[in-house]
Symmetry: C2
Subunit: 182 residues, 2 copies
């Protein structure tokens, strides 16, 4: 997320927001062959659990699924993908599709068991926040002002939402902030 709250720019913002995935000396392998991140030591410590099996299911929206072409069938964290969408594409790339985000969550819970469920899309994050279904928010804060784009936090119905002080991990080109929801 940029300092002004955007997780995607008006164009794409990928260069600005994701540059830290390739700006360091520590390799973090992923579930995708030939995709290895190169990050700072602190960011590697932050990322490694997610890419070593800590995440049992990932929930996302249709925009990111289409933009990544369904991650070619394998998400980098190596877990099943649950997509919230009003329609089902011809090629589901092995993902599971739901129109209701809470039904997607229920299916993801069965899949994940004791492992974490990650939510990768702002609009779904917002709905789960309003429904009280999230335990934590992880923000990888990038030191840039983008001015416009897609906001991480928008359209929240039930505010204020109080969080814990964050666990802070100071990477290079990014500061990771993990908040527990109170």
């Amino acid at each position: 997320m940029s300092l002004d709250g955007f997780i995607a720019g008006e164009q794409s913002g990928v260069d600005e927001l994701f540059g830290w995935y390739g700006n360091g000396e520590v390799a973090v392998p992923t579930a995708v062959q030939h995709l290895t991140f190169q990050v700072s030591p602190a960011s590697a410590d932050h990322l490694r659990p997610a890419f070593a099996g800590a995440i049992g299911a990932l929930i996302c929206g249709r925009r990111v699924f289409d933009e990544t072409n369904g991650w070619g069938g394998t998400h980098p964290v190596g877990c099943p993908v649950f997509v919230v969408s009003h329609s089902v594409p011809d090629d589901k790339h092995g993902a599971f599709f739901f129109t209701d985000p809470l039904e997607a969550l229920s299916a993801a819970r069965k899949e994940a068991g004791d492992r974490d469920i990650a939510v990768a899309t702002p609009s779904i994050t917002q709905q789960f926040l309003d429904a009280g279904e999230l335990d934590a928010i992880v923000v990888s804060l990038v030191p840039v002002l983008l001015g416009r784009g897609i906001r991480f936090f928008d359209n929240l119905a039930t505010t204020p939402i109080r969080l814990s002080d964050p666990k802070v991990t100071e990477g290079h080109g990014v500061t990771h902030l993990t908040f527990q929801i109170m």
Copy 2:
């Protein structure tokens, strides 16, 4: 600033955003008699320079000037106040008034000399960012989602604006992030 980017709530947001000024065991005296903050040790280290003469001039907008009743003539940091406003109130409380923010900045520079100039209002911060007049951004990030209110960063014309990795100070109920503008 709340995690979703607001420096004031729709109502006031004062309880949520400024609670950390009174939630700790370390006293930080101000230039105002009978106004002493009580903050965590880390926040005290972060705040103390500003309340010990580091700031030579403060620029703000009319909303905060009116809401604070011109700080009763003495801003807590103890420096002259330069207000950007289309009109001049009957009681200026010793402040200086300008319609042009860059003229206010010029006058503040003469007053401050080698000391820092603080900017206390989002719309003026935005104009100075666009004009390339700022050296640093200090965000005191409060772990709350407010949902609506006045954004710190909005209406930026010349983006992206790249910043340094922040100096991080972990207070209680607040995380202070100081970014240099590249």
